[in-house]
Symmetry: C2
Subunit: 257 residues, 2 copies
DNA sequence: CTCATGAGAGAGCATTGCTCTCGCAAAGGA
DNA sequence: TCCTTTGCGAGAGCAATGCTCTCTCATGAG
């Protein structure tokens, strides 16, 4: 008999959860049934992701996915209890894909080229978003109304932020950050939140944390503006402008040119 | 007979367009029929805006609006040819409301307190958004898939930006901008876009234009992050953090503390 | 007074998310 | 090996949506 605390049960539950919510299998599942279930779950999310890419989240229809799989619509509910759960799986996948893209972009840079690493991260975010606008919109656009982000999305959601925080932290530790003066000192009431954010960039003082937030919100603010049409008829040579603004952010963080 | 170029026709067409798309009447309409039509159009958009506020854009249903008006659903189509057109009207209304809030916030500040004016604009945007998250999401979140912003939304969409540009322009003209050094010079390829953006902030050099874009994207990047849940469990004392970051943006623009 | 125009009512179509029941087949225990 | 539990696909069905079409009637212009 399995107790709920037994490693077996935990392992089984977590695998089921992964199959259900992530549409992924870790490796060979135990039984044949579980294997085909994982296969079909993955197929559903793949088709759904394709529909999402072409039609956007509001146009994602469970019935259309079922049709493409040659299933009847009600059968999909064996795999995802609701449309929102399918969307949640896509969201988690999306965060992981973006996080991986950011990790890869950072990984190929020389470790001590902090400006280069930051720029690589910025470009990775932008290019990932431009290649999959609807998926980006699902992650960083308006949240779907009924949707409550499960706690589990959080770990995936901050993968890119973790990379960013490491760059800042390492740059500061290496003494490579000499920010320009003239900026106001963070107020005392900011200390608490700075401490939370500092978990992502250990050892960094409050004013660098604040400036890091400026850069991070600036990056996603730009990408969202560009993708959601706010730059129409206003900014044409977008790659150039983006690049310059991100270099500017690096300089304002005190990174070397 | 009215030619299409006659002032009468143009006036009539533009009024019809306003009623159709803006849900507003300029003043007393000509005939009684037109007056009641304008009244009903306004009532539809009012109810729709209320539904939008509570349920979000995807939950906005033409039939529900019709039901609340005591009409049958098909009758709504006499006023808005499709759901998207109703949404367009709400978008334009939203841009105008936000623009007006920003204008009002700026108007009560001393003209030469540029830092104060910028902070007032920032707070106005954030507070407007926090008070109507769904409406903000409609403006700055993921665009609805089928939706193509008509040219007409543009004038409303940049009302807030116009205020912002004026602050920058006047601050620069007053010699009140002394930005910190150390930022990279804008590349030559940026000049074209800088010229376009400069129409909103006449007389300002390219590097100030670039920094102005940094601040503007930072403002909306923050507000979107805060509203769309990206700060959950990360930043708690949000008003404080927001205020400090916007002060920081002011300082980086070279505004006096 | 006549007649064209505008507008609401109603039925209807295709589509959606989701539920329920039914029946079959595979997995697992005795 | 047999029997039972479990999982899963099929199908019908419900309520709701956006949108179209036709019918009818009142209003307003000539």
């Amino acid at each position: 008999m399995l107790s709920h605390e037994s490693p077996e049960c935990q392992e089984r539950c977590s695998r089921i959860f992964l199959v259900l919510c992530y549409g992924e299998v870790m490796n060979a599942s135990r039984t044949a049934r579980e294997r085909v279930r994982a296969e079909l779950t993955r197929e559903i999310t793949d088709i759904a992701r394709r529909h999402l890419a072409t039609d956007g989240a509001p146009g994602l229809s469970l019935r259309a996915v079922a049709r493409e799989m040659g299933m009847v619509s009600s059968a999909i509910y064996r795999y995802f209890p609701s449309r929102d759960d399918l969307l949640t799986a896509l969201i988690i996948d999306g965060y992981n894909a973006l996080g991986e893209a950011v990790e890869d972009a950072d990984a190929v840079c020389p470790r001590d080229d902090f400006t280069g690493r930051w720029l690589a991260v910025c470009r990775a975010v932008r290019e990932w978003a431009l290649a999959r606008p609807h998926e980006y919109a699902l992650l960083y656009g308006s949240p779907v109304p009924g949707y409550q982000a499960p706690e589990d999305t959080v770990v995936a959601a901050i993968r890119d932020t973790v990379v960013y925080g490491r760059i800042i932290s390492e740059a500061y530790a290496a003494g490579a950050l000499t920010p320009p003066g003239g900026t106001p000192a963070p107020p005392a009431a900011f200390a608490g939140d700075a401490a939370i954010v500092r978990e992502l960039m250990p050892g960094v003082p409050d004013d660098v944390v604040a400036q890091a937030l400026v850069a991070w919100t600036g990056l996603f603010g730009w990408v969202s503006f560009e993708l959601f049409g706010q730059f129409n008829n206003a900014i044409l040579n977008r790659a150039t402008a983006f690049d310059h603004l991100m270099r500017r952010h690096a300089a304002l963080l005190g990174m070397p040119a």
